[in-house]
């Protein structure tokens, strides 16, 4: 039983910390910590900085320009990035399509697309969900009909995150109408400049533009843009769902957010003293802190198993459920701590010229509302419970 990192892991952690201290632009970390929306430029700037260090695609094999990080290194990197307030790596190219191409793509596809992900030439987005098929992917309806060397795609995708910045989209489409719902699905790469594609913003609860709808009308895509065999896209979809789960608990986000709430509670005054001196509020904080400390260990326990090569089954679903509950509870505390100062619709003008919330906290309520999504997307917590229940009742 040893809860600490190995010397090599600690050395890596120090490297990451030093790198972040030197290279993370304060303008970015301030924006991240203040929970404000990042621009496309912000994200590209951070990607370029990481890419220069070779850390943009740390978990990728060296042969493809990565570092071949294992789960623990990846965890260390992500946690340190969270704590430092670094922007999240936009995952669609780096954590989703990249691994898919490495496993299922042709050498040509790999040679074409992987470098363009790293150097920022391509910004990928994801065409999975459809209206009417949220957590029930197998029921998707967007169809791709073969016409010579092309597919002709018709249909609609939704919840396409940051699609407004993307030049390409990877999609699950139906290439066979009959048979089991999972059987007729293919995975194709689409250039967003292709005629017949329209992207429309979806405005979210707090007012931000983060996701989009994408409409396909007779969109012609070369058959060579298919990844993997025709009608076997479900395999890729399942691979992807099982793949990107190391940071599923979001512990780094929670740790950073809790630290911010603590500081906030030391500044905000209530009844003539700092809010932290209020027993009821301090009790809320202390309760969540204990849960988060437990969550850290739960996360490390699963990570240690993954690092040993154990194939995790339903366990990541636990991390997702509890991890998002804790994050949302911390967001709730931040909002709560602000009292009436959480009420204004956040605007840079108000925040800069007439600050109401303490510095860096004007977007806390918006962030609380926006983060209701984390228990819905990526397989809602209800779906995760179904997965766990299935595993549990089969024992």
């Amino acid at each position: 039983m040893d809860l600490t990192y190995s010397p090599a892991e600690r050395a890596f952690q120090t490297d990451v910390r030093d790198f972040l201290a030197e290279n993370l632009p304060p303008a970015l970390s301030q924006k991240v910590n203040a929970r404000r929306e990042l621009t496309k430029d912000d994200m590209e700037r951070w990607h370029a900085i990481l890419n220069a260090r070779g850390w943009l695609a740390g978990p990728w094999p060296k042969a493809f320009g990565g570092q071949g990080w294992g789960p623990i290194e990846q965890h260390i990197f992500e946690e340190e990035c969270c704590l430092a307030g670094a922007p999240r790596i936009v995952p669609f190219g780096l954590k989703m399509l990249g691994p898919v191409l490495m496993k299922f793509g042709t050498p040509e596809q790999q040679a074409t697309y992987l470098p363009r992900i790293l150097d920022g030439t391509d910004w990928w987005c994801q065409g999975y969900s459809e209206p009417g098929a949220g957590s029930d992917l197998a029921s998707l309806k967007t169809r791709a009909e073969r016409d010579g060397d092309d597919y002709v795609i018709n249909g609609q995708k939704t919840w396409t995150t940051l699609g407004q910045h993307a030049n390409r989209i990877f999609c699950l489409v139906r290439t066979k109408a009959d048979g089991k719902p999972q059987e007729g699905i293919s995975f194709v790469l689409v250039d967003l400049d292709t005629p017949g594609i329209e992207m429309r913003p979806i405005r979210l609860i707090e007012g931000g533009h983060e996701v989009n709808e994408v409409f396909f009308t007779d969109v012609r895509v070369p058959v060579t843009n298919r990844v993997g065999a025709e009608n076997e896209g479900w395999t890729i979809a399942k691979f992807l769902l099982g793949h990107e789960r190391t940071n599923i608990a979001g512990v780094g986000f929670s740790v950073q957010a809790l630290e911010q709430v603590k500081q906030l509670a030391g500044k905000v005054m209530r009844g003539g003293q700092p809010l932290i001196q209020n027993t009821l509020f301090a009790a809320r904080l202390a309760r969540i802190e204990a849960e988060l400390e437990a969550m850290k260990i739960t996360n490390l326990r699963m990570l240690a198993r993954a690092a040993q090569g154990d194939r995790l089954g339903a366990e990541p679903s636990m991390l997702k459920i509890k991890g998002t509950e804790i994050r949302q509870a911390i967001n709730d505390l931040a909002r709560r701590a602000l009292g009436p100062a959480a009420a204004p619709f956040p605007s840079e003008d108000l925040d800069g010229n007439l600050p109401i919330a303490p510095e860096g906290h004007a977007y806390d309520a918006a962030s609380y509302f926006n983060n209701r999504k984390i228990s819905i997307y990526g397989g809602s917590n209800e779906i995760q419970r179904n997965i766990l229940a299935k595993g549990m009742m089969q024992r």
């Binding site: 969900s129 029930d136 979806i202 979210l204 707090e206 009436p340 009420a343 619709f345 109401i356 999504k373």
Partner: protein, 357 residues
């Protein structure tokens, strides 16, 4: 024992509901709630024209209502329609002007809009912590300080301001023209403002205003609990609708037992919210007013948040969008707890009562 509304109040609710559903449709609401002045002055006048404000005070002050249930039925309709009109200020101002013996004519006719400014950044819920000061330099009273998140502040003709005059907490009337008001919308829509006072001219209304302020805060809190109740009922109705129509895995999501049980728990909680609002409304102006209001605001604060979070979660992604009304109801239900004392603030009032009573 009778839990039905009197005919008068039923008509009041019906009038309000019909007006809002005809004149304050969803698209309209969404537009005005987030576009300056963050409400619709014409509709305000329309509501005033219905005589609604006369229900806010009793006959002795020129009104024809003024009981807890009058406030409750009006605000339940406001909540149901998610109407951003700044009626909260009118409720609280009506109590304060009555206490001051000041005329209410312009308030009741709707000709003048009133906002009430009590809370400050470092003392958001508690009149005790007010630092705003008033001084009479010979040419009348002047106020200095800042009032934060004044609901309806930017669109008011008058702001009733609590400030310290020597040792006592006093209440003043500040004409909007004499004040530096910085308006903005709330995250859940509707108008608010910062009030910056730098020797602003003011008229003294009540020299020793602590009890009048506490009373006005209670009435405001009652109104908010009723508003939350109306918003919860609409939210829940939308959720049930969605559960019956939205299909996943080949069946309506309402067929899933776990969602059924969670919806049942919500309906039970909403019934409890209705009960505590009834109890508080019945206790207004009586000896239990403070306790019942605190219980209502505490309990409704907790339940409203639960309803909001569960409604979003059970809907799924659709309720995360601006386009779908549930997102806006959810915001209101959560943010209402940030007005006039949150669930913990009122729990503390109850704790003190337990410990000293």
């Amino acid at each position: 024992m009778n839990f039905e509304m009197s005919d008068d109040r039923r008509m009041l609710a019906e009038t309000m509901r019909r007006y809002l559903s005809e004149q304050y449709g969803w698209e309209h609401r969404l537009r005005v709630a987030y576009t300056a002045p963050y409400h619709d002055p014409q509709k305000w006048t329309g509501i005033a024209g219905l005589g609604i404000f006369y229900a806010l005070v009793g006959e002795d002050h020129g009104g024809m209502g003024g009981a807890g249930f009058d406030i409750a039925v009006i605000f339940e309709e406001i909540g149901r329609a998610l109407c951003p009109e700044p009626l909260l200020g009118a409720v609280m101002a009506a109590r304060l002007l009555s206490a001051a013996g000041a005329p209410l004519t312009d308030l009741l006719s709707g000709d003048q809009r009133y906002a009430v400014a009590i809370g400050e950044l470092d003392a958001p819920y508690d009149p005790d912590g007010i630092t705003c000061t008033a001084a009479d330099g010979g040419d009348g009273w002047r106020l200095t300080g800042r009032k934060s998140v004044v609901y309806g502040g930017g669109v008011a003709d008058h702001v009733l301001v609590a400030a310290r005059a020597e040792e006592r907490l006093a209440l003043f009337d500040v004409a909007a023209a004499d004040a530096d008001l910085r308006p903005y919308p709330m995250i859940d829509g509707g108008p608010a403002a910062e009030l910056l006072l730098d020797g602003a001219k003011a008229t003294l209304l009540i020299a020793d205003a602590t009890s009048a302020l506490t009373d006005a805060l209670d009435w405001g809190a009652l109104a908010l609990t009723a508003e939350a109740l109306g918003a919860m009922e609409t939210t829940y109705a939308m959720l049930l609708d969605y559960m019956g129509t939205r299909k996943q895995f080949g069946q309506p999501i309402g067929a899933f037992q776990t969602l059924q049980h969670r919806a049942v728990d919500l309906t039970i909680e909403i019934e409890q919210a209705r009960s505590i609002v009834i109890l508080a409304a019945s206790a207004m102006a009586g000896p239990d007013q403070a306790k019942r209001v605190a219980q209502a605001k505490h309990l409704v604060g907790r339940i409203a948040r639960t309803v909001a979070e569960e409604a979003i979660q059970m809907h799924g992604g659709i309720a995360m969008t601006w386009e779908y009304p549930v997102s806006h109801y959810a915001k209101r239900l959560v943010m209402i707890d940030h007005q006039l004392g949150d669930t913990d603030h009122h729990l503390e009032r109850l704790i003190v009562q337990l410990q000293t009573g």
